[in-house]
Amino acid sequence: MGTRSTLREPPLVKALLMAAAFAYIALMLLLPLWAVMSEAFRAGAKAWAAAVSEPDARAAIKLTVLVAAIAVPLNTIFGVAAAWAISKFQFGGKAVLIAFIELPFSVSPVVSGLVWVLLFGAQGWFGTWLIDRDIQIIFALPGLVLATVFVTFPFVARQLIPLMTAQGRADEEAALTLGASGWQTFWHVTLPNIRFGLLYGVLLCNARAMGEFGAVSVVSGHIRGETNTMPLHVEVLYNEYNFVAAFAVASLLTLLALVTLALKSALEWRYRAALAART
């Protein structure tokens, strides 16, 4: 490190750079966090508690958890399957397949919701067919789940593909040689090897699933107490000028974000090696 001292900026420049970076982070990131919390408790803890426990808010919390509880496992199974196929076997068109898997990240959330309305909405491709059979997808739970699955599609797969590619398949081959079945090999060899990467992917997938706004906004119909997830409930309350309640529910989502960040950072610090092939 001694040789690097000549490569450092003058102390004054260094101090200025650090001050500017801290100021930027404080202004852009800390201040909005503080704003949510201070607005949420503006009318006191009692008003906060009332806002997060009233029936519509409770229904929104339940719906958010339900949607995530369906969408996240679906994308986890998909992510593991995709990573298994891509990392353990040789076949043509891999790069295209990976690009397609990551495609939902570059699509606007609004378009991610729109696709389902075009398919299943009243004037969509299957609209009349669904109406005839009295099946509701748009403005109901299935639509919310589909939109959420779309936006969270790549999270687990993109975490596991580089990790499992880097790990290779020597461990699995050894297990098979020793007489383990395919499933035994997966459960006892592959899964332990990828568990932290998997956890990391699921964590990010869940955070996005619970916090998604644009895509679910298109398919929800904003029916209070029925098709409003927490972020949508925040919007409805906000548009009704019920700011204290909007920020109270928003503070719960902020808590979710902070817990996610803490767990994510803990995973990165503790198990850097196990996540090594992350990028």
Partner: protein, 279 residues
Amino acid sequence: MPSVIARSSRHSPLPGFGLSLGITIFWLSAIVLIPLSAVFLKSTTDGWDAFWAAAGSPRALASYRLTFGAALLAAAVNCVFGLLVAWVLVRYSFPFKRLFGALVDLPFALPTAVAGIALTALYADTGMIGKVLAPLGLPVAYKPAGVVVALVFIGLPFIVRTVEPVLAEVSSEMEEAALTLGASRWQTFWRVILPTILPALATGFALAFARGAGEYGSVIFIAGNMPFQSEIAPLLIITQLEEYDYAGAAAIATVMLAVSFAMLLVLNLLQHWQRRRRS
């Protein structure tokens, strides 16, 4: 193609190729590829004239200008400040550095609707920052400037996270050599460090731009959502949908998707450039 796949899978003794690739391709088609193709097909159901009338209407053109202009501006702002934050994170040590580093990912984790109402609370004329800016004749909330502020918030981690690892890799030998040859610290930065990290910076810029162009949740609260002035393209899609103009919504979505695909192409080229630079 199937025969190629079957033949090459024999190179691996591991089981589960057919099952895992089957799940991957089924899920990818059902969730991403078929729904996205619905957008393209729907946008031209009323013919190409109707497509251009919807996708090229003055209101739509104004929304593209705002959406892509604000996304470009926000990505440019983050190039400067994101580089600054990455620099401070990589080069200096200070207390609570890990916390500082973890906080950078907040915009990834915080639901966009929460970010939207928090930024609006801060930048409205009565808010902490708006109170200072408004008397200076710089109103932010409910103006196009508000869109930029929201996108700056959303885009910050993209730049920091792509520049950080490359900046950490810039070899001190190279900097020492520049110094020995008589370059000042400033010249070393401009002539040695910046060219090395340029591909990463460009990648971060493209990622931030792509995310910002599609962003909805954080923008709609702080933008005034006035047609021709502060209405972003994703919002216009929702407005068309609410008027049951599915083809019109799909036409604008097609334009957004075309930009997404173009950005994916640019990102792939950038990655290629970056890999060549690093090897």
